[in-house]
Amino acid sequence: MSDTLLEIDRLSVDYETARGDLKALRDISFDVRKGEIVGIVGESGCGKSTLISSILRLTAPNTRFRQGEVRFKGEDLLQLPERKMRNLRGADISIVFQDPMQTHNPVLSIGQQMLDIQHRSKTSKPEKRTRAAKMLGAVGIPDPEARLDQFPHEFSGGMRQRIAIAMALMSEPDLLIADEPTTALDATLEVQIIERLQELQQEFDCAILFISHHLGVIAELCDRVVVMYAGAVVESGEVREIFHDPKHPYTRRLIDCDPGHIKERARVLPTIPGEVPDLANLPGGCIFRDRCDQAMARCASEVPPLAQLKEGHHAACWLNHKEAAE
């Protein structure tokens, strides 16, 4: 247990709305070990963003934590006083956001911004500047010393995302949260970012929680994968198990849908018909039932638990019930 860094334990989060409570996260459990890259996959509305903001406790005012814990190095972040939480953010846990065009302050030079985020460090200004230049070099920005004086608009999108990564890693965090960091980038730049993240993860030995809806990127980068659907974890396991032997119909069909899988020109591409259920008005039973082609009578009446199928591989589906180790 000592190598577990982050444990999400039966976390449920609601948003209070005029229509009633929107159950954004329900009974989420998974963990991230030290130095591991865990991918979270899911489509729009699956709760990825709520999950990240809950870990960092940067939630909207109408957020209600209904149950569960978010333990970071054994300590429940949900119970931490705000002052301690502030010390943690950007130091022990840092984040890279989706849109590289909007994460930097447009009126301050990159160097100034990189000095500012070292406010906790006791070192002198020239030392901070040297460190900033070194970090820019580490993410592959050529001629880093000179470029510190440039402004965000003078960098391309791919470079800005790498600068965001440099800034997130500056404090040598134990956990880096990357929220769709490559979605806004071209495929060639996406590959550059993934490879850079892999190298940096080795170098800084931090764990990465990598959120994406791009299965190709997840397959390439991650050690373990958590699949989310409509606010719940439907499957989690090692990356090979998830991609080669998916145990939840949603995972299986999501992989089937990826056109990267289909090498020859297809007249009709596979899809998942139907829509994500209304989270303010949840149907009973399994959340995926309406879109599932293998639904049974039991799926309508009982919510399938996230059961362990074998060491490290969990799925929430009644189809596995015979083999589930309960």
């Binding site: 489509e43 729009s44 050529p142 391309s156 999108g157 791919g158 470079m159 071209d186 495929a187 060639t188 730049l189 996406e190 590959v191 550059q192 993934i194 809806h213 791009h214 299965l215 190709g216 990127v217 997840i218 397959a219 390439e220 990356v239 090979r240 991609f243 080669h244 069909r253 999501l254 992989i255 849908c257 990826d258 056109p259 990267g260 899988h261 289909i262 090498k263 020109r265 297809a266 007249r267 009709v268 591409l269 596979p270 899809t271 998942i272 018909p273 829509e275």
Partner: protein, 312 residues
């Protein structure tokens, strides 16, 4: 005669030379994909075709008629035949109009007063597999995938011969992306539409395009049938793009070809082959300027092309 014939199209915004001579043709009923990185000029090409971006030089012939630089008066009737699907699905729909009035707006603009607009709205929604009651909804009530389909419905309203689609699947979830591509394929077959599709998602191109052109810095560097380009990419840039496509399989053995650096500035175009500085296969000859050469329908702008089976 080709439906669309773009010849040596050039566009500059001040000193920024965005299109440096783009030529391609689209036959009736054909789907042509333009592929390339951000800033390669893809969007400018189709905006110039639709008369929404300036083009200082070259020619755009639609059905034999020159439309580059044509007056609004000449263009308006042609807009019946050329429809555009914009990149941002929700942003391209006016937030104050209902879906019904949005998709029938083309009839009003073209002055087709005799049409029963409610019936047309119903027909169009049905065509893109949306329920008829969506006509009274507003854009903010739609999901991204539904907004896309409204964009398709509006583009189809006047039964065009050509659709220009800018990143039609960007921002869509994979499960929905397939639906939209199936819809486009189906409509194309039923209505005999020709399409120009812009995308940087190569997985999408493979399933919708008959032919494709690869753009780099405002020029085509390779062009051919989709099969030919995927199976036998000759230009190193095409090879790099194809190899940069992460596969949904952790055991996929990728022979990834790293692209060096970032696209150069359009203000300082490199001499010789413009891809030379980033090209992993560059040779001495590449300091000369490559010309566009076509061999058996496969166009190429490269002095040191790769050959089939050559170890990459």
């Amino acid at each position: 005669m080709s439906l669309l014939n773009v010849k040596d199209l050039k566009t500059s915004y001040g000193p920024v030379n965005v299109l440096a001579g783009v030529s391609f043709t689209v036959e009736p009923g054909e789907t042509y994909a333009l592929v390339g990185e951000s800033g390669s000029g893809k969007t400018t090409v189709i905006r110039a075709i639709a008369g929404l971006a300036p083009a200082q030089e070259g020619s755009v012939k639609f059905d034999g008629q020159e439309i580059r630089g044509a007056s609004e008066r000449t263009l308006r009737p042609l807009r019946k035949d050329i429809a555009m699907m914009f990149q941002d699905p929700v942003g391209s729909l006016s937030p104050r109009l209902t879906i019904g009035s949005l998709i029938t707006e083309p009839y009003r603009i073209q002055g087709m007063k005799d049409r029963d607009l409610d019936a047309e709205a119903k027909r169009l929604l049905e065509m893109v597999n949306l329920p008829a009651h969506f006509a009274s909804r507003y854009p903010y009530q739609l999901s991204g995938g539904q907004a896309r389909r409204v964009g398709v419905a509006r583009a189809l309203a006047l039964e065009p011969k050509l659709i220009l689609a800018d990143e039609p699947t960007a921002g869509l979830d994979v499960s929905v992306q397939g639906e939209l591509l199936n819809l486009l394929n189906d409509l194309r077959e039923r209505l005999g539409l020709a399409m120009v599709i812009i995308t940087h998602n190569l997985n999408v191109v493979r399933h919708v395009a008959d032919r494709m052109g690869i753009m780099y810095l405002g020029r085509l560097v390779e062009e051919g049938t989709t099969e030919a380009v995927f199976h036998d990419p000759r230009h190193p840039y095409t090879r790099c793009l194809l190899s940069a496509n992460p596969e949904p399989d952790p055991d996929a053995r990728l022979e990834r070809i790293a692209l060096k650096g970032e696209p150069p500035s359009l203000l300082k175009r490199p001499s010789g082959c413009e891809f030379r500085e980033r090209c992993p296969f560059a040779q001495e000859i590449c300091t000369r300027t490559p010309q566009w050469e076509v061999d058996n329908g496969h166009g190429l702008r490269c002095l040191a092309p790769l050959h089939e089976g050559r170890a990459a």
